[in-house]
């Protein structure tokens, strides 16, 4: 039968951080994982540009990240227009 150690080995721990990710996807993105990933990538890009602008000493108009709803709106308009 199975190696005894398998039975004694801890089951893979449930990662609370991933549980939070799932909650966000279900609650804010209706379970659409792709929309969530597109959104976080868009957000990361916006933040990266804002930081680059701030490093250049110029204005940083994009410093404030838009809300999730706005991001989804922008993605949708790109995808479906």
């Amino acid at each position: 039968m199975l190696d005894k150690r398998l039975e004694h080995e801890q089951a893979p721990r449930v990662d609370k951080r991933l549980a939070r990710v799932v909650r966000i996807i279900v609650e804010q993105y209706d379970g659409d994982v792709k929309a969530f990933v597109d959104s976080i990538r868009y957000r990361a890009e916006v933040n990266r540009k804002a930081e680059a602008a701030s490093d250049d000493g110029g204005e940083a108009p994009l410093r404030k990240c838009p809300s999730t709803t706005k991001i989804i709106g922008r993605i949708s308009s790109v995808h479906y227009s």
């Binding site: 039968m1 199975l2 190696d3 150690r5 398998l6 039975e7 089951a11 893979p12 449930v14 990662d15 951080r17 991933l18 549980a19 939070r20 990710v21 799932v22 909650r23 966000i24 996807i25 279900v26 609650e27 209706d30 379970g31 994982v33 792709k34 969530f36 990933v37 976080i40 990538r41 957000r43 990361a44 933040n47 930081e51 990240c65």
Partner: protein, 375 residues
């Protein structure tokens, strides 16, 4: 500023290199460094892998040593990174990392357990070796399935149309897997199709056994000692009906088939604890839109019950599929590209690729929260 989560990042400062064949000597050489890293802190340990494989038992020993609790019960997380080749036992070790990373040039090769011999084998010796190898394959397949399951969940929920159908019911699994096959070369896509066939036959055995046992009174309260012989009877009944047109006898291949069915059901069922935990976390990803709306209005306790009745069956067939897949991985040679390893749930991340990863999702949420907290 982007936030890095050390649980999902390779860390050269706390790393080990497993290169070349996995032998007892290689393990001896790594042991002091493993102990040193564990003593220094409970932070994750990164294991870089470039190995053609070797002894599965030694590979397991290395993994157990890295993950063993210290005197305070503290365990280090294991991050595995394939930097060249991960074949055989090294491929298993890669997949069993708490977070597994493949570099784009990596080569990942799976095959079943093998044993080399220097002396001639007797019939008894060969039988015992075959049984040991089968046991080793099954053990590894289950371990692999346990670590791949979460990853495969994240893969299938990306398959937009097919996941919608699967959310409607577990019978959508075949379509879901078919959608997954496009990510693979034709040879490796066959592996997925064979796994579906295997999963179906397992479900048939299980359903037949369930139907037989349902006719018994209070079977749920029976002690294992009483239940197991009845399960054997159920399986004999199932196999006899299946072969009613054939010249099938228990004394020929029949007993072996029944024993194999019995072990299969026993092994799969022994993993249901894992399934409960995964259901709590990932179950809501398998609800239809209407179910999801209903689920959101539930309290935490009600939510658990809701997932049990609306998502458990889907997760269960997916689990059977993953175990079937991992069993097949141990039977023939399968060479995987990093991307294929990602879609198969062997690794979590392929560096430099656009494939989504747990790290990306978690770090972005942490970054957003950290930006929100700033004045």
């Amino acid at each position: 500023m982007p936030v890095h989560d050390k649980d999902y990042r390779e860390n050269f400062e706390r790393s080990l290199f497993l290169t070349g064949k996995i032998t007892q000597e290689a393990a001896y050489a790594l042991s002091p460094r493993i102990k040193e890293l564990r003593a220094a802190s409970g932070d994750p340990i990164t294991l870089y892998i470039d190995s053609p494989g070797g002894s599965s038992a030694v590979a397991e020993g290395i993994r157990f040593l890295i993950k063993a609790p210290d005197q305070d019960g503290r365990r280090c997380r294991l991050i595995t990174v394939v930097i060249g080749t991960a074949a055989s036992a090294a491929a298993d070790l890669l997949a069993l990392g708490d977070y597994a990373i493949a570099e784009p040039q990596a080569d990942i090769l799976y095959h079943g357990s093998r044993q080399a011999f220097e002396q001639l084998l007797t019939f008894e010796g060969a039988t015992s070796v075959a049984a040991n190898l089968q046991e080793a394959n099954e053990r590894l397949a289950l371990r692999l399935a346990r670590s791949s399951f979460r990853r495969i969940i994240w893969r299938v929920v990306q398959l937009k149309d097919a996941i919608e159908k699967f959310r409607d019911g577990p019978e959508g699994l075949e379509e879901l897997v078919e959608a997954l096959t496009v990510k693979f070369t034709p040879g490796n896509a066959m592996l997925l199709r064979e796994a579906i066939a295997k999963q179906k036959s397992l479900q048939e055995v299980q359903t037949a056994a369930d139907n037989y046992l349902k006719k018994r009174k209070n079977v749920a309260q029976w002690p294992t000692k009483q239940l197991e012989p009845e399960l054997v009877r159920a399986l004999v009944d199932y196999r006899s009906r299946l072969h009613k047109e054939d010249d099938w006898l228990l004394s020929r291949t029949g007993m072996r088939e029944v024993a194999s069915d019995f072990n299969l059901i026993h092994d799969y069922a022994s993993q249901t604890k894992d399934l409960d935990a995964q259901l709590e976390v990932y179950g809501s990803l398998f609800l239809t839109q209407a179910q999801s709306a209903e689920f959101k209005s539930k309290s935490e306790e009600e939510g658990k019950v809701y997932l049990e009745s609306h998502a458990a069956d889907k997760l269960e067939v997916l689990w059977y599929f993953v175990v079937s897949l991992c069993r097949l991985l141990q039977t023939k040679d399968y060479r995987l590209t990093p991307e294929e390893a990602y879609w198969l749930g062997v690794v979590d991340e392929v560096t430099g690729s656009s494939l989504q990863s747990d790290r990306e999702m978690i770090e972005m949420i942490l970054s957003t929260e950290s930006a929100t907290r700033k004045p």
